[in-house]
Structures are given as C-alpha cells and as structure tokens.
Subunit: 455 residues, 2 copies
Amino acid sequence: MSQMIKPQLPKGMRDFLPADVLRRQYVIDTISAVFQRYGYEPLQTPVMELNSTLMGKYGEDAEKLIFHAKHPQGDEDLALRYDLTVPLVRAYAQNEAKIALPFKRYQIAPVWRAERPQRGRFREFYQCDADTVGITSMDADAEAVSVAVTALRALGFTDFAVKINNRKLLKGIGEYAGLTGDALANLYRSIDKLDKIGVDGVREEMAKGGIDAAVIDKIMELITSARKENNLSYVAAHASIGTLREILDSNDDAMQGLSELEQLVRYLQALNVPEQNIDLDFSMVRGLSYYTGPIFEAVLLSDDPEERVGSIAGGGRYDDLIGLFRKESLATVGISLGIERLITIMDKRNMYPASLNRTVVQALVTVFSPEIRAESMKLASELRAAGINVELFMQDNKKLGQQFGYADKKGIPVVAVLGPDEVANGQVKLKRLADQHEVTVAHAEAITTLRGLLA
Amino acid sequence: MSQMIKPQLPKGMRDFLPADVLRRQYVIDTISAVFQRYGYEPLQTPVMELNSTLMGKYGEDAEKLIFHAKHPQGDEDLALRYDLTVPLVRAYAQNEAKIALPFKRYQIAPVWRAERPQRGRFREFYQCDADTVGITSMDADAEAVSVAVTALRALGFTDFAVKINNRKLLKGIGEYAGLTGDALANLYRSIDKLDKIGVDGVREEMAKGGIDAAVIDKIMELITSARKENNLSYVAAHASIGTLREILDSNDDAMQGLSELEQLVRYLQALNVPEQNIDLDFSMVRGLSYYTGPIFEAVLLSDDPEERVGSIAGGGRYDDLIGLFRKESLATVGISLGIERLITIMDKRNMYPASLNRTVVQALVTVFSPEIRAESMKLASELRAAGINVELFMQDNKKLGQQFGYADKKGIPVVAVLGPDEVANGQVKLKRLADQHEVTVAHAEAITTLRGLLA
C-alpha cells in the first residue's frame, strides 16, 4: 500500500453525499415515473463505447471534449459516452432483432465532457432522455413535447414554455430569402444568437454574412412573426402558422415544415398539453446539426437573473442518425431534460416535498447500556422487519443525551428509548424530535405508535 | 458525419434492454430498501478517480485490470473505479467535515475491470456495497452480516450460509504453529484453496511451503474444527469457539479474534439472524490483503453444478484503509453483495415476482382511424393523468388486429379500443389479453375498470 495521499476528486466531478443523493433521486424518480406513464421503457448502455462509435458524430469542437480510455493490455480504443443519443442509435441498430417498433426508450445516466471547469459546469453530469424510434408521423413529436411538459409540471415547474420550431421551415425561409449552402448554415448561426444579441445584433451578423438589407428585413419579419403575438395560446399558434403559410406557399420545404407544425400543435391540444407551456418560435434554431424536422427547447419564464440558466429541456427529430449504424435510417425523435439545471433551480427555490428528509433513517433505537444492548437490538430487528428504516446506535458508553443529539444532527425524526425501566415494564419510549412529543407504550404497540409518529 | 459503421459494443460490456433493466432494477430496489431499513445511506462517487487515488491499493495483478482515461487536453491522469471501497474511503476523508460518525453508506453502481472476457465475466459490472465507518465494536460487523442475510432473503434466497472467520484468529493459528512473515502469507494462500483442492491438496501445498508435517496436522485440525460440527447453529458456533479458546489461550491474536467472533455471534443472535444462514468457518480466508478482523463470505448451498458460482457476498473489517487518505485511520467494516451472480441465479430459478412484467406499459390505447385519433389521444391523457402507464398506438393505418398483436408481442396486459361505436356512445372497450376478458364501459368509468383489470 502507498503513502498517505491527499483525498482529491478529478476536476469538474462531484461526490454526492446522502442528502444530495436523496434529492437527486427524488428528481430522477419523478421524471422516470412520468416517462413510464407515457410508455417509454428504460434502456441501459455501457459507460464506455468504442472510440469509433463516438468519433465523427458531434463535430470537431465537441470531439475535443471526449474522454478516451484504455487498459494496460490495451486491446481496444474506448471512449466515455458524450451523450445518450449516439449510444441509443448504436444500441438500437445492434439489438434491432430483439426490439419491436416503435421503440420508446428513456435513459437517465451520467455522461462525460472535458469542459473547462467553472461554476455550475461539470465534467461528469446526468442527462435525461426520452426518444421514439420508428415513427415518421407527428404522434411521436407530440408525445416528446407532452412528456417534457408533464415531467416539468410533476417537478413543480409551471413558469416555463416549450418553444417549438421546424428545421424544414427554417430551411424554407432561407431559400425563400435566396440563401443556400454555407449562407444557410450562417443564417442558422446568426438567428441562434437572437436571445443573446437581440434583433439588431442578428441583423448586423447577417449583414456581415453578405445578406442584402432587403432580404434581412424579409427574414426578420418571418422569424419574429410568431413572437409578435406575444401570448402563449393554441389560437395564436395556429394564426402564426396561417400567416406564414400565405407568405411561403411557393416553397416546398417551408410548407412541409408548416404542415408538420400544424399537425404537432393539433396533437398537443388533443393530448391536453396546457397552452401556457407551449410557444411557437420561428427564430429558435438549436445548435445540433443532426435535426431534420420539429425542434423543441424549454425555457424558464423567470425574471430572476439567478435563474437565467439557459434551456431546461431540448430535443427534436433526427431521422438520419440511425443510418450511421444500419443500411436504412429510421425516423427518430426525442427530448432531453436538463436535469442538472433543473436541480440547481429546485435547490434555489426549495421545490422538494416536505416529506423528503435528509436521511433515510426514520427512527434511532438508542442503547442505554452494554448490559441491555441486546434488548435494543431486538427492538431494532422488529421495527426493521415491519419495514421501518432504523438505525441502531452503535458507539458504546454514550449518554442518552448524546444519542438524542446525534439523532438531531442527522435529522432522524423519531428516537426510541429502552432503559432499565422500559425493559422491566415491557415498554418502549418513543419521542418525535420536531415537536418533542413523547409517548411510552407497550413493546407490542411500538410499531403502530411509531408509524403514527412518522405519519 | 462518418460512413456507416457496424454497431458494436466494447468487449465484456452489455446493453440492457428494457426487460433486462426492469429485472435488474427490481433486484437493486429490493437490496436498496433493505440497506435503508438498516440505516445505510446512499452515497454517489464519480465513475472516474484520479489515477493516484486508485494505484497502489489493490496489488499488482489487480492494477493491471484498471482502465485509464484521459481527454485530448489531458490535464489529469484518470482511472475508472475498480471497486466501491477505495472511492468510499477517499470520499469520506475528503468530506469528513460534513459527515457525522458513524457513517453508514451504501452504493450500488458499476465498476470496470479489464478481465479476459469469458462467459459470465464482464468488464463493466455492478457492485453493491454497504459499509460502516467509525465503529470499532462488533455492532458494525453484526449489522453487516445481518443486512446481507436480510437482503438475500428479501430476494427469495434461503439456501445460503454466510461463513464467518477472523483474520486475527488466522494469524494466531499461524503463530501458534510457529509461522511468521512470508510463511504466514503462504499459509493464507494455501488455506484459501481448501474448497478447490480439498484437505489433501492444502496439506501438499503447505508441505511444499516448507511446513513440518506435525505443524500441518495441528493447523488442519484447528481450521477444520468448526467444519466438523457440520450443522449451522448458534450452539455449534459457540462450541467451536470454546474449543479453540482452550487450545489457543496462550496466543493474544487468536484470543482477540475469538473474543470478537464470540461477540459477533451473540449480536447476530440478538438481531434475530436465522442460524441456518450462519456458518463459522475457520478455514475461510478471503483474498484481499486489507482485512484486519472479522471476515464474511456467503455461499449458495446448492447441489446444482450450474449454480456453483462462487461466493454471492463477501466482506469484513478493514480498519487501516482510510489511513491512506487521512492522518489517523478509522475503523471500517463492510459487506458486498455479488449482484451479478445473484441475478444469474435469479434468472435461472425465475425468482422474480409474477407482477414484474417485461414492459412498463399497463395499457395500449389503440387508434381506430386517423379521423378519430384525437379521441384516443384524449383517453390516453386521462389514463396517464390517473397514474396509469399508457402507450398510445402510433403507427398510422394499422388494423385493430395488428395493434392487438403488437400489445401481445410487447407483453402489454390491457388494450383499450375507441371505435366509432364507442365514441358515439361515450364508451370505451377494455380487453385483458391474458384471459381475453373484455368489457365495454362508460368513458367516465374507464379508469376504475382498467385498474380492476390490472389488479
């Protein structure tokens, strides 16, 4: 064994102590339950993939952030997963003989990116994805948006909007304005900055990109047309789509994008998605190059600058990605909840249920003295057998007061005392620390009474 | 994006499809619940540790199996965790200001070892550990054994025994026989092979190690003395301890080991641990060098050669390990359940509850035609809002028969039908596939009826 070394975490990585884990697990369990309610099934892929599976999928800048792994006998070049999407399409293509379509899967798991460490940015962080493989119709897109809205609401969020747009429409708008190829890609990049640099900033960017002032006017009017409505309602969404339909009716891409949007909005209505959480936004682009149709991005509608965390969910349709791993591609659409950002906001707003404690322990069984320790052990076993989470006090020769102090420090709600009197009388003393409520009951009634104190 | 490539997993790594995940999650949830019932709290450490944290802790042979990781800007040498024990002691030492003692923690998470791939051996596999930091008395050891027995029984195992021994006793036996230093280490290695090579094999090994025939006799008699009792009971355990006490009363190490064992056995009795699951075995060694006191190892008592999977749990006291990361060490004891082996046996014996389905979906809501799809969407939303896991059929223009076939293939228990008649009459038809039981009820009663069909 080696010399003493300073205990240290890798940069950008975290230990989650029990109270942290319990909060994170509450969030994960809540989202999982909603995913399952929509019929998404859990999939688990390994932490490492072959290097060749990941490289060439995310663009050069992203690729620089991938962690590579090897072992001393080094027979394979491996990499830690960068997201859950490429592993999904690899796993689907590899296991398709065993999978019925549509394949609705979710995965909530860590990914690794060697970002420059800074506040709120981690090198190991969780992603939380639900995707549907094998459906071309807007049914799958509508469920992706609906499941995200339901999950966010289940966590207690109401002040958010899922912006919805369509890549085909964006392409159509560019074509309508006379742009193709690189100019089109530049257009996306400029529009994508709208929230950061404002309308004038985007105009300037476009002008730098060599787009005529008249064309810029045209584009800006189109992409901000839905924004002008400035209220989140299905009526407004349909009206915005109608307006663009009239202007863009000569462009096939735009018309197909608008048809998809219209269908999607109708399905969201049929699925009872609250309209105050839906926002048609023709200026929303999303960075990833692989999207092919509808795109989604949820933002918090908060005026608190500390809550400006960027998007809290995002996704869209990427019908070509599985084609990287099989001869024919398959329609795929998904949504990803920004679980780390959600947890940050939930911590700040204290959005956890009162019943969520910082310890799993429901009762501490104290030990009066070594001589009657066996009595305490017996009680602990009985309570555990009844399904109650019990810690049996372990340190020897601590006074009861110290044991109560320990329970208080750890946040254990109830303390059980078995002193010589209680043992002699076949009784147990139970005390709830929050309100100092104390009862002494017959040993046989301890389980029922304890359950009552915890309720 | 790159050319099409063959979808492929790294060697020794696995995808878990939904039905696999549901089974594994059942096992993990069952064990977690038992760990929590004993007051162990969840801890999460990162998948990667600094290389310097892991190296020098496991011995040379083990170190060769560690996966190393780096990213292109490579500012740190990282390694994927090899077990959950070294990360625990690193995390404790690093966070001790925030942690009250005793620190009872559990972690159920994957680890990575570059073993030569073979049937039933994986390079990514789960470990499942519960440990107590900060307790020198046998309380912590007794809880470690007790929680393992309770967890195994909660999974449905009854035909197993937790072998118990003590490193101090083994050392004392060696000393009593006149062995020290390397000869003592060789002795452990020889005894460790008892199950594989038998009594004669071990004698031969010892003889090769230069131990006198008379000494060998002495040792073999001592280490097999508990085995001779050949029944698992607390009376037999105490008798075996008593026998050794008389023989070894001049050796301090042995006497301390025996005192610990006696205390431990008494505590197990007080904790109501079933005696048929406890087996004192003075010949049990356990490989790891860091154990300092009691050691445990659970084996399946099965005659089926296919079920000879080796130990299904193991652990012990390792009071010196935390001293690698802080000035003074702290008493620590833990147990690790061999969750991958347990799952293998559970799959073979089909030990899962009948209620555990291969899909999360409880009901498929069919779509009769595109025209009345909105009615099906509405029903799906209502059922989901009531907490029922619902898949809404997504492919267009499939006949009802095909939709029923899909439900059957996926194992979805109930199918809901909303045809033109049902819609016109404000009704829903519900069919349970297992027994073909079919009812048509008013739309408002669909939730209650569906719950009944699922019960």
